[in-house]
């Protein structure tokens, strides 16, 4: 209500209660980075174990827990939250909005993700981590074969997934309703477009995961029998539900990364994106096809040749829009003036890396040959090429590109290049040889391999590559540390889109006056016209902002407590936990909260100068 209320609290309280999309974005980035480090450590343990044949560095049981948690952590708790961090911070700025559509839900989404992630990782300390692979196929994940760890998986991912779903809906509504005047859908920056499509995928894909997890939870906790063959259940249902979520998930991750590359490549070649509308339609088509091909993960499960043939051809079709994108990027660079900043080097490094991952994707789509590839290191190589070469390169590119805007400092470019080259070389060293390991008879998810099978040398090389990547990441952390006082200007890259028109650090209201958008790359357009500032849609006036709230955090803690009740079959605790969450929902519903206004004298006018 009053302004004093918003400014008088402590810093910690401010972060715990914030509904500011920029702070939530930063929290997503910090939490995502934490889980990225955890997943990375798990990866290093896996590779150390596989460095030599018949190694006893970790036990077979611990190894299965490591691979399960590595996959789950990297997908759900690192890659997605890090992308969500960028989306949260950047998308409202790119569309010229003051906030997201549902600031309270935005905060709730973050805290749900974090509490789900923490819950999942606590399994390491209480009774063993989940060990059935990140896909948790039944019956291996059923109560008869998997211990408490799987309960952490089922509940942790449900809570975290609810947060993701809320986040996705929020982005959809924000992008549809809150664009600045003049920004038609076909004038949106590609990162916003890809966020939009990825959010739509979240909207349709995550319910499938939730349903699957619900069925598994009821089976494990209450003896339901959806997947128990003896009781008439069917184990393949789980795989369908999982992959109806799981395949689009790949695109939920990689499309926003494509968006980042589109921004970065065009900024650092000083050209507008080649074939903008083709890029948009390719994104939409990839999103659509992403849903139609889930069963290509199940070619060997016995669906029969008709289904296999259909899903094989449908999967291959995805190569067409993806190819369109690759060539459009190449033609964006063509005729440009390409500067090799670290952000751009990751974007450039992405192109050959992702093409390699893409072509093996087409190879995997050949169902008849897939019987050889499936569940071998060929697959491990393929999806790491796609997810590291696509998503992680995108995250690193976005990190160097948007760091000045988000944190107000410039990362060191020399260290950045060391980081890029070590990571790039290490990545290819680790995963290129794994294609051959797979064809030479190495199944995936094996805790070790026998000596004398010809698998030793390539495994050794692969592990060396992993160490390169680990060292590279340490250099990134060092870079963040040494660059902490290197102040950034508001538009360091001569940017093209609206986020570069805001001050650095960005004011809580983003834009003092809502800008008017006249062309694609609105800021670049005004710069080229010789205008010093963007045209504005409104006179300077009071700005209405939402109040912060502690309720999202408490609601998440409630579900966190309830989960422990379910895991240890102490339903009193579950009821208390659910009661806390429900109580918060009631408070939220009945308590009036109109937000507050920032008066004109506090808004520094005309800040968005180019």
């Amino acid at each position: 209500m009053s302004n004093s209320q918003a400014y008088s609290k402590s810093v910690l309280w401010d972060w715990l209660t914030t509904v500011d999309h920029k702070k939530i974005g930063i929290m997503y980035l910090v939490a995502g980075a934490f889980f990225f480090v955890l997943g990375g450590l798990e990866a290093m343990l896996i590779r150390i174990q596989l460095m030599f044949p018949e190694s006893n560095f970790v036990s077979a049981q611990a190894f299965n827990e490591l691979i399960t948690m590595h996959g789950t952590t990297m997908i759900f708790l690192a890659a997605m939250p890090l992308l969500f961090g960028f989306m949260n911070f950047i998308v409202p700025l790119q569309i010229g909005a003051r906030d997201v559509a549902f600031p309270f839900l935005n905060s709730l989404g973050f805290w749900l993700f974090l509490s789900g992630g923490i819950l999942l990782n606590l399994s390491w300390f209480f009774g063993g981590a989940p060990d059935a692979g990140w896909t948790a196929y039944v019956p291996l994940s059923s109560a008869a074969y998997a211990s408490t760890g799987l309960d952490y998986y089922v509940l942790g991912l449900q809570i975290s997934g609810a947060g993701t779903l809320i986040g996705g809906i929020n982005f959809l509504v924000t992008i549809i309703t809150m664009r600045a005047p003049g920004m038609t859908m076909m004038k949106m920056p590609l990162f916003t477009w890809s966020t939009f499509v990825a959010s739509a995928l979240i909207l349709f894909a995550f319910p499938a995961l939730t349903v699957g997890l619900f069925l598994l939870m009821f089976e494990r906790l209450f003896g339901a029998n959806y997947f128990i063959v003896e009781a008439g259940g069917n184990v393949v249902i789980w795989q369908h539900l999982f992959w109806i979520f799981g395949h689009p998930e790949v695109y939920i991750l990689v499309l926003p990364a494509f968006g980042i590359f589109s921004e970065v490549l065009s900024t650092f070649s000083k050209k507008r994106l080649f074939g903008y509308s083709a890029m948009v339609f390719a994104t939409l088509i990839i999103g659509f096809l992403g849903f139609m091909v889930w069963a290509h993960h199940m070619f060997t499960v016995g669906m029969g040749p008709v289904a296999n043939a259909i899903f094989a051809v449908a999967t291959m079709a995805i190569a067409v829009p993806t190819g369109i994108k690759i060539f459009n990027w190449l033609l964006t660079l063509w005729g440009g003036r390409i500067s090799f900043t670290t952000a751009n080097m990751f974007a450039l490094g992405f192109i050959p890396s992702f093409v390699l991952g893409g072509v093996t994707g087409v190879m995997l789509a050949t169902s008849a040959a897939n019987y050889q590839f499936h569940d071998t290191y060929f697959v491990v190589a393929h999806f790491h090429y796609v997810i590291i070469g696509g998503v992680v390169f995108g995250l690193f590119s976005g990190t160097f590109y948007w760091w000045p805007k988000i944190f107000g400092t410039m990362l060191n470019e020399t260290l950045g290049k060391w980081f890029f080259w070590l990571f790039f070389i290490g990545f290819h060293l680790t995963f290129f040889v794994q294609h051959f390991l797979g064809l030479m008879g190495m199944p995936r998810r094996v805790a070790s391999y026998l000596d004398g099978q010809g698998l030793n040398d390539l495994n050794f090389i692969s592990t060396i590559g992993a160490f390169f990547m680990a060292v590279a990441f340490i250099i990134l952390l060092a870079n963040i540390f040494v660059s902490r006082n290197n102040k950034a200007v508001s538009d360091p890259w001569d940017g093209r889109t609206l986020e570069w028109a805001t001050s650095t650090p960005v004011k809580e209201y983003n834009f003092a006056q809502t800008p008017v958008v006249r062309e694609i790359d609105a800021l670049w357009y005004e710069k080229m016209k010789g205008n010093k500032k963007l045209p504005v849609a409104e006179p300077l006036g009071e700005i209405h902002m939402p109040n912060g709230s502690i309720l999202p955090l408490i609601m998440s803690i409630g579900l966190f407590i309830a989960s422990f009740g379910f895991i240890y079959h102490t339903y009193v605790v579950s009821i208390i936990g659910l009661g806390i969450t429900l109580g918060c929902m009631i408070i939220r519903s009945v308590k009036e909260d109109h937000g507050y206004h920032i008066p004109v004298d506090q808004i520094e006018p005309d800040k968005e100068v180019v």
């Binding site: 040749p305 051809v313 008849a368 499936h374 064809l439």
Partner: protein, 336 residues
């Protein structure tokens, strides 16, 4: 033509690597018609993909070199909107390339799914257990553990089942895998041209012992196979030495509850591989080299040797009984 020249080094790498890996394990050195069909499909898709890679990399390298930012150059590049002709080209060309792969792939997919019986074809029911394999020959009334004997040049129709969790049956040198799914019977077929021992592996994560869930496909001439199947169906022959005789008593006291020999013993509820032809195996428990030392290690400490497996340790046996048991087990043979 220039691009084809560039293919050569890559093809050379592939061929070089085809030499890597153990013979009879790698999919790059096929020993039967199915693996051959699959390798040729892999090669077809690989060559087309290499063409794609070469084109993209060439444009990429050219662009980076030609349009790099040069010192002192501050010009603003022309802002190009797009080009419809180019876009149509790079939409249609990939579609054509994909069709070249898709058509043989669909044909092969149906060929591989054709499990109709032909003259002399045999059927084997393969059941995956945590963490071992069972091979049942319904036409011959034979059950074997760990080693799957098949006649050469014969279509072997494989029925895949699972008794506990999912497993996946993979013999890279002979054929790609299919899954063993509880409650469902999957079908595939394999054929081995030459006699030999082909390594097989479980490729679906099935628990602690997953990485050691290996097996062998032993391809023998059809007449040898017939002899093998007939002898497998017979009661076990009596041991020839006194020590082996004593070993049989140990076996009857300790092992028969789970492991059958010559159609006697075993318990479907408990499980345990059939040991009728144990003495002819090349490995113990799917992975240990077959010798007395390893056999004793296995009998005494199975739980640490192959984590998660259900066999209890027999470390309580005294040395004399253990030696006798080993002697008896080594003599369990059907082929000589």
């Amino acid at each position: 033509m220039k691009q084809l020249g560039r293919l050569l080094p890559l093809t050379a790498i592939i061929l070089l690597l085809a030499g890597c890996g153990e013979v009879n394990l790698t999919a790059l050195d096929p020993q039967g018609p199915i693996a051959e069909m699959q390798l040729s499909l892999i090669k077809l898709s690989l060559y087309i993909m290499i063409i794609v890679i070469v084109i993209v990399f060439a444009i990429f390298a050219f662009v980076l070199w030609r349009f790099r930012d040069k010192p002192g150059d501050k010009h603003i590049p022309k802002q190009v909107e797009g080009n419809h002709t180019l876009e149509i080209i790079w939409t249609t060309v990939p579609i054509i390339l994909l069709l070249i792969i898709a058509i043989p792939n669909v044909m092969d997919t149906f060929t591989l799914a054709n499990v109709d019986a032909e003259e002399n074809s045999i059927t084997v029911k393969v059941t995956g257990h945590q963490f071992w394999w069972e091979f049942e020959y319904p036409d011959h009334d034979v059950v074997a553990g760990q080693d799957m004997y098949i006649p050469t040049n014969t279509k072997v129709i494989v029925h895949l089942e699972a008794s506990d969790v999912m497993h996946s049956f993979w013999v890279p040198a002979l054929a790609g895998k299919q899954d063993n799914v509880p409650g469902i019977t999957n079908e595939m077929w394999i054929k081995a041209v030459n006699p030999g021992v082909y390594k097989g592996k479980c490729t679906e994560l099935c628990g602690e012992g997953h990485w050691l869930m290996d097996f062998k496909v032993v391809a023998v001439e059809p007449d040898v196979f017939e002899a093998w199947a007939q002898n497998m169906a017979q009661p076990a022959k009596d041991p020839v030495t006194a020590q082996a005789e004593a070993g049989r008593d140990v076996f009857q006291a300790s092992c028969i509850g789970c492991h059958a020999v010559g159609g006697v013993g075993g318990n479907p509820a408990v499980g345990g591989p059939d040991l009728t032809n144990f003495g002819e195996r090349t490995v113990i428990a799917g992975f240990l080299e077959f010798n007395e030392e390893n056999l004793e290690k296995w009998l005494r400490y199975p739980e640490t040797t192959k984590p998660g497996n259900k066999m209890p340790g027999f470390n309580h046996l005294n040395d004399e009984d253990m030696k006798a048991l080993i002697e008896y087990m080594k003599g369990l043979k059907v082929l000589d």
